[in-house]
Symmetry: C2
Subunit: 164 residues, 2 copies
Amino acid sequence: MSKTRRYNPGAPAAEPSLIYLVGRVNQGITREMRSRLVAWDLSVPEYTALSVLSNRPGLSNAQLARRTMITPQSMIQILAKLERRKLVRRELDPDHQRILRAELTAAGRAMLTKADLVIQPLQEQLLDGVAEPDRRIVTDVLLRATAVLSKSQYSPSSQPSRSA
Amino acid sequence: MSKTRRYNPGAPAAEPSLIYLVGRVNQGITREMRSRLVAWDLSVPEYTALSVLSNRPGLSNAQLARRTMITPQSMIQILAKLERRKLVRRELDPDHQRILRAELTAAGRAMLTKADLVIQPLQEQLLDGVAEPDRRIVTDVLLRATAVLSKSQYSPSSQPSRSA
DNA sequence: CCAATTTCAGAGTAACTGATATCG
DNA sequence: CCGATATCAGTTACTCTGAAATTG
């Protein structure tokens, strides 16, 4: 029961896979966000970091990296830039003198508020016409997927042999 | 204000937004795919192009670009590399001597078959435990989102004014 | 002339790997 | 010594913008 598009007459129009759809939607979202955030000189990863820190103040760089599925070496650069701009402040964990816990500054919160003003409408635009039970289902399925990915992320299970 | 919220044990985590979840899942999927495809020297965008062309033979570079939400200048490079490797063949459209329609070669189909052998299991892994009605809903919602994004992509409707 | 397609060339963004140092 | 964290340095991957040629 796939919608037959008449682009390629005779072709079965294979079901778009979750992997493919997520990639496509992500590409579109990223593009749109970039254009909406450029006015504040904020990159998409920077916005994301601000957003996460707003919900989870006190996360370390390593925790933030795991949460967004990028390496800590990548995250540190995002965080460093936000810190230089005084949007984020980092303080030593009193219980562990190696861990730096990050949180938004007042300026950071103000910046996020302004950015959300243009990003939240995009969210609503994307889900326009989708009723509540379905929104919940999509969220749950994607959350489940992140759980699977987080696990496989750090276990050396699938290492294919070199051939070619 | 007040003392910073520290750990927040037991507090209900704020609802992760669709935008955030898609980004996170995409990052995880991309990473995993990269590691699974490296054995065949195939990048994620290359695999995607092969996969789309398999389902929709005869697409032009411009069509392929719109379909994956990237610019034709980006897509041409992916396509050029696949063509050099003889995985894709391009032929002039008989009705329009400017358009080059692409399709997989036998080698391209063989490559895709082998790649699918490691990518399809990932798909199933991500949806493990998700029943059928829910899968359909997720697919539909994401498809709907791509439609919204495709529209805003090429129409000068949502051009925010420069207000810094 | 115009709109769409192709494609070259140069940037830029955002991620990666490797290596080193510190803390508990 | 080990595991986790932080972070410097160099590199790669992927996409973008600009511009030019071609076709109908």
